[in-house]
Symmetry: C2
Subunit: 246 residues, 2 copies
Amino acid sequence: MFPLADRKLVEVCYTPGQYHLYKEQFEIVVVIDVLRATSAIASALHNGVDKIIPVSSVEEARAYQAQGYIAAAERDGQVVEGFPFGNSPYAFMDESLKGKTVVLTTTNGTKAIQMASDRKTVVIGCLNNLQALCDYLIKEHKNTLILASGWKDKINLEDTICGGAIADILLESRKFRADEDSTVAAKFIYRSAKQHLWSFLRSSSHRRRLIKLNIQKDVKYCLTLNTIDTIPILKDGAIVKLETND
Amino acid sequence: MFPLADRKLVEVCYTPGQYHLYKEQFEIVVVIDVLRATSAIASALHNGVDKIIPVSSVEEARAYQAQGYIAAAERDGQVVEGFPFGNSPYAFMDESLKGKTVVLTTTNGTKAIQMASDRKTVVIGCLNNLQALCDYLIKEHKNTLILASGWKDKINLEDTICGGAIADILLESRKFRADEDSTVAAKFIYRSAKQHLWSFLRSSSHRRRLIKLNIQKDVKYCLTLNTIDTIPILKDGAIVKLETND
């Protein structure tokens, strides 16, 4: 049904620093920061937050705060002083945030979102919305780049695994193809990891960092597959919930 | 015997473009370009070539050629016009090259070697000299960075697998530790691949490119483990065979 020539590309880029090497051919970019920015964003919108405005710097977040916005800021896994919360998904589930707009800056994820905003469509991926996101991407059937946020321009395991999972599902649909070794490698890492995600990620430096920060509850939440069907999408500089009739 | 604090680092960097993010802590850099530069260099020295002078540009190679040097140049998998050979390991085994100095420039590998020359020790790795190289690295017991040449600043599978193999062997010695997710991921890719390296690399874009160039014989040679015990090392700008009393 889909000969190779009709298949769309799906590729995984491991870090924002490599984005320029990949981006040209893609109409859709999926930004991933499993621990924890994109998991938090998806959960926030799923739980009734109206909009998330992603900003790159703490200064921008402060400027919004000065204008009366609710703003959240995380650097190196911790809440930045002067902000009520950082990127914990649980913080974004608070009843008081329903219907509200939240400004967010994080170490890696919001920078990747800003960077990807030069493409036509930017959606937000995590393990929590994996299957719903893949169903959407298969239905859209466009050249799709998965941009992992990484950790300070280096690869991280959890984003690579999530990117590999998306690529694997899209490739299995036989409507997509991959040309890059980064995509093939991510798919194999995901397949190695998927039966024992938690113990696999014990190897991850990032997870070790997070254990020090006492956020095991967050980590368990972020590493659980298919708990929500919300797909966050960037529209006019803000992230909102994709409506099925969009 | 080696508590964690006494272990040395072994890390894998996937591309020259990320080298600056890694290099500071390392005394030894292992440069890898399995298909085909570092496999060719190791084979050349193993078969009696005296020295390889790695240069980054075709222009530099031409300048040496004009001075009477034997020079080899490869770009995009093919021999550059005006040069007798590129980076085929078999070309470097020619009897006429015994005892000679050869100047070499390749698409990825020689650039990575030049880049790594800011560290104290630079050695050359490939699958052909895997075990001999690891024995040396374990004996030296210094902070060791494996620099994969990649393909035009993107990751490639064969270098990542080779880097993962070296990291795996060093970590198994219990004298080394790894902090980076890139290293953990490379180790898992190697473990996924090692029982069926040839079929695994069928997924590799790079190998597909090389099949088009009709160099299957070279590819099979480069993907064969532990055929030689030569360790090439950079000394005063030229790559020579490491002597055991070095």
